[in-house]
Amino acid sequence: MSLTFDILLLLLLIVTALAVAWTKDLLAAAIIFSSYSLMMCLLWQHRGAPDVAMTEAAVGAGITTVLFLVAIGRTTRREK
């Protein structure tokens, strides 16, 4: 059970990272990166690191994504 969950989570992480690479729309890429961070946070909580999981949820999925969104809003949304 636990191993299935792990493998599923790791596969989802790789899929979301590839989706960040493929997406042309930068706004969508930033949101996908946010979900990647949240899944990373789940993985670390599962690995017995609640401190780091909390930091990743607040900083990685929250602050970093907001900063990316602001930067995209101040520059351009399309990737050429």
């Binding site: 401190d51 909390m54 602050i63």
Partner: protein, 253 residues
């Protein structure tokens, strides 16, 4: 062509990495070098030596306190650098704008002009943010003050506070939220983490002879806990102010 080349290069790079990974001790092995030297001692004696039930906080604030002080200085430096990069000259703001079109080689690559006003915030989002604000603040304060007992600490609580501030800025507008970060107090709040570290470090140096030294006497464990909580509050307040200021500075035209 270029992408295929890069992908081939990365596969070549990843092969030695995978070979190294296969030769590592099995995942979760309790006899691997990570678990047998320093961390065994930390787990065994960390609670009475460092004075924190949460060993991660103990390592961050006591065993590796100087590292954390350096990290606090890193985010403070990042704030100052962001200020320096994004500074706008109030008198001559017109200069940078028109040059962009002349430099642009193709007409199709001109930056889109954001002439239309930003769309209004949905009432659902606005209501939910305002409803959740007190609870988020309470949770952030709990996380900051209990950093040495439960998971959490200054950075986590500071990031939650900063995120709440950013959400409020988006919903209410900058002018109303600015009262939470008044211009006079802002530099002191942004530097709160550094000030807390220096103050506690000097107090430690005066009493024990080492910078950031904590009293080791068992009867003084409340004093030690208080010193840790002061540092955590400083980190939380400073982190929240720094994240919020970087957001406001990037958001400003």
């Amino acid at each position: 062509m270029k992408k295929a080349l890069v992908a081939a290069l990365l596969i070549i790079i990843s092969i030695p990495m995978l070979i190294a990974v296969a030769a590592m001790p099995p995942h979760g092995d309790a006899d691997s070098p990570v678990h047998t030297h320093v961390s065994a001692r930390y787990i065994e004696h960390g609670e009475e030596e460092a004075g924190a039930e949460n060993l991660v906080t103990g390592v961050l604030l006591n065993y590796r306190g100087l590292d954390t002080a350096g990290e606090v200085i890193v985010i403070f430096t990042a704030l100052m650098a962001a200020f320096a990069v994004l500074i706008t000259h109030p008198g001559r703001g017109e200069e940078s704008g028109p040059t962009t079109a002349a430099l642009d080689p193709e007409p199709g690559t001109e930056p889109e002009s954001d002439s239309k006003a930003p769309p209004p915030i949905s009432p659902v989002v606005s209501f939910m943010v305002r409803l959740l604000t007190p609870f988020t603040t309470l949770f952030a304060i709990y996380v900051i003050l209990n950093g040495h007992v439960t998971p959490g600490g200054g950075f986590q609580g500071g990031a939650i506070l900063g995120g709440m501030f950013i959400a409020l800025t988006i919903v209410l507008g900058e002018d109303k939220v600015r009262t939470l970060l008044p211009r006079r107090a802002a530099p002191w709040m942004q530097g709160a983490a550094v000030f807390a570290f220096v103050a506690i470090g000097v107090i430690g140096a005066a009493t024990t002879g080492y910078f950031l030294g904590y009293p080791t006497d068992a009867s003084l464990h409340l004093v030690r806990e208080l010193m840790m909580v002061v540092i955590e509050i400083g980190i939380g307040l400073g982190g929240a102010a720094i994240f919020a200021t970087i957001f406001l500075q990037m958001e400003a035209e």
